[in-house]
């Protein structure tokens, strides 16, 4: 038996809170006849009104439709690019899926370039497909990332933690060190500070924040800024 907020193992039954019996199951949960069982070890989370999921240390990315990911172009063939997004299979990216691209005006993408893109198709049995435009044809921040900066890889659960509104990491860092950032749900973060040294400091700060709570994060940020400014 596993309650909300507790740590469970695969096979544990979950205890339903006072909902009307209709619940939504997220990753790590499965319905078996009349019980709901956990299929991976981790912390059982709950969100109002009726969503349950399991959160755990996770390095392999499982593509989900609509998520923003950071990939590397590995191959060019005909009218599609192959993009490695860290999943079990490479995603395909059409050359028309860029802002302002037409059949005559091809986007300038080379092998080894990094693209920040959105997953359009992600299902169990087909190849994932990514695009660099939104439904209205605008880039909206997506596209090839070219002007410097560094990419780091962190576990997927860390990404979710950084992006959650409760986490103060990005705000506290940004108070004293301006930076540009692109966060992919596949565990890749591209970041660019003012100088090389600042970028390195930022990448290390993000990487080491995985097991910290908000107080520790703000303390770490303060220390980092002090050491960067030479105190």
């Amino acid at each position: 038996m596993c309650e909300v907020g507790g740590i469970g193992l695969p096979g544990d039954k979950i205890v339903d809170k006072e909902t009307d019996g209709r619940i939504v199951l997220g990753p790590g949960l499965r319905k078996e006849t009349e019980h709901v069982l956990m299929t991976k070890p981790g912390k059982l989370c709950f969100k109002d009104p009726n969503i349950y999921w399991v959160d755990s240390h996770h390095k392999r990315y499982i593509p989900v439709r609509g998520e923003n990911v950071l990939g590397v172009v590995t191959n060019k063939s005909g009218d599609t690019f192959k993009v490695d997004i860290g999943g079990s299979e490479q995603a395909s990216l059409s050359y028309l899926a860029f802002e302002g691209a037409t059949k005559r005006n091809r986007p300038d993408v080379k092998i080894g370039d990094q693209v920040f893109c959105k997953l359009l198709v992600a299902s169990k049995h087909t190849e994932p497909e990514v695009v660099c435009i939104d439904s209205s044809g605008k880039s909206n921040g997506l596209g090839v990332i070219r002007d410097g900066g560094m990419t780091i890889t962190t576990p997927c659960n860390h990404i979710r933690k950084i992006l959650s509104p409760d986490c103060v990491l990005l705000k506290t860092l940004g108070n004293s060190l301006p930076y540009e950032i692109a966060i992919g749900m596949n565990g890749k973060i591209w970041i660019k500070g003012r100088t090389t040294k600042e970028t390195i400091a930022l990448t290390n700060a993000i990487a080491c924040a995985e097991y910290m709570n908000n107080e520790q994060i703000s303390l770490m940020c303060r220390k980092l800024v002090n050491s960067l400014s030479g105190f």
Binding site: V72, T74, D84, K110, G112, D113, Q114, I145, R146, G148, G149, M150, T151, W190, T196, K197, T199, I200, A201, T203, N204, Y211
Partner: protein, 340 residues
């Protein structure tokens, strides 16, 4: 499995950082990552951690006939195992990749051809029986610079290893078990250690102990095998670059400092281990686990009810004694029946 692709922006950034004399993990140009050496409960078992690169080495021995060409010398055998657990790019199965072969050969050259282990003392009967010492390096995690990590863990494991004692009387060879006689350490003359230098921009910049990302960007590397007496045991250069003579000399001077540091670390850990063993303190891998880490599990101490525990224990002992007596009686009965 295919390699994890490396983007142009990472490549450019790493080179840019190196040009500004800074590294991704905040180290200096000549710094090693954090090094940690743990010995196992068994003799000759040692785990070396160099940052996130982890190598575990196990030394074992067996009696074999010697090589025809060297009838009075023992055999030292070195093997490196690259399992897919260490990195998805390593292939499973017996076939070794080019990288694996290079690593194995380099390690073999460093350990065997420097004659750090006295092979003549491993001879039991000339031409008939010698000890074969087997060094197995298992790579548990790969984050660059496996050569240094493997060589340090291999030599530390060799120094930690004890072989069983043997006695020869005429043609007869007796191998004494560990209870009969204390096992004997191998005679190790010196400790050859490898130090890796990575070169960038045609040998203009050099880094000590390259991490995985730096290894992917470098033009080439040079490995210097050296002991603390400043004797060079191996020297290998790979990659496509040309470097100047004084650059090589500079590297060897840096290697002297690094080798002294690592040797000191190995000696210290060996001493700490033998002290813990002789004093009966906990040793081995379980003792090395830190409980104050997020990744470690710690069970909180529980309150145990001890009221009436003595009577309970006495009862259990009594029951056991009674059942013993019953067994004896039954055995006697059976014997009597058989006799009848």
């Amino acid at each position: 499995m295919r390699d994890i692709p490396f983007s142009n922006c990472e490549r450019d950034f790493i080179i840019q950082a190196i040009e500004q004399r800074s590294r991704l993990d905040g180290r200096g140009v000549y710094d090693y990552r954090k090094m940690q050496l743990t010995f196992g409960e068994d003799r000759g078992c040692c785990q070396m951690e160099l940052g996130n690169s982890i190598v575990m080495t196990q030394v074992s021995c067996e009696v074999t006939p010697p090589k025809q060409t060297r009838p009075s010398e023992g055999i030292l055998f070195v093997n490196v195992e690259l399992s897919p657990m260490a990195s998805p790019t390593f292939e499973p199965g017996g076939r070794m990749s080019d990288f694996g072969v290079e690593l194995n050969r380099l390690l073999e050259r460093c350990l065997k051809e420097s004659r750090c282990v006295d092979t003549e003392s491993l001879c039991i009967m000339a031409g008939l029986k010698v000890w074969t010492i087997r060094v197995d390096c298992h790579v548990l995690n790969y984050d660059g610079n496996l050569v240094d990590c493997c060589s340090a863990s291999a030599i530390a494991a060799l120094a930690h290893f004890r072989r069983p004692d043997v006695s020869v009387s005429g043609e007869e060879v007796t191998i004494h078990t560990l209870d009969e006689r204390d096992p004997i350490p191998l005679s190790i003359h010196h400790m050859p250690l490898c130090v890796t230098f990575a070169f960038f921009s045609q040998g203009k910049y050099l880094l000590v102990d390259p991490s995985l990302k730096e290894e992917k960007v470098m033009d080439g590397k040079m490995v210097i095998g050296m002991n603390k007496h400043r004797e060079i045991c191996t020297l290998q250069m790979s990659g496509n670059m040309l470097i100047m003579k004084d650059q090589v000399l500079r590297c060897s001077n840096i290697a002297v400092v690094k080798v002294t540091e690592i040797t000191e670390l190995i000696q210290k850990s060996l001493q700490a281990d033998s002290l813990a063993r002789s004093k009966g303190q906990p040793f081995g891998f379980p003792a090395a686990i830190e409980t104050r880490k997020v990744t470690a599990n710690e069970k909180k101490s529980e309150v145990i009810d001890v009221v009436g525990i003595e009577e309970k224990a006495e009862q259990i002992v009594q029951c056991a004694e009674e059942s013993d007596e019953e067994r004896r009686r039954r055995r006697k009965k059976r014997r009597r029946r058989r006799l009848e």
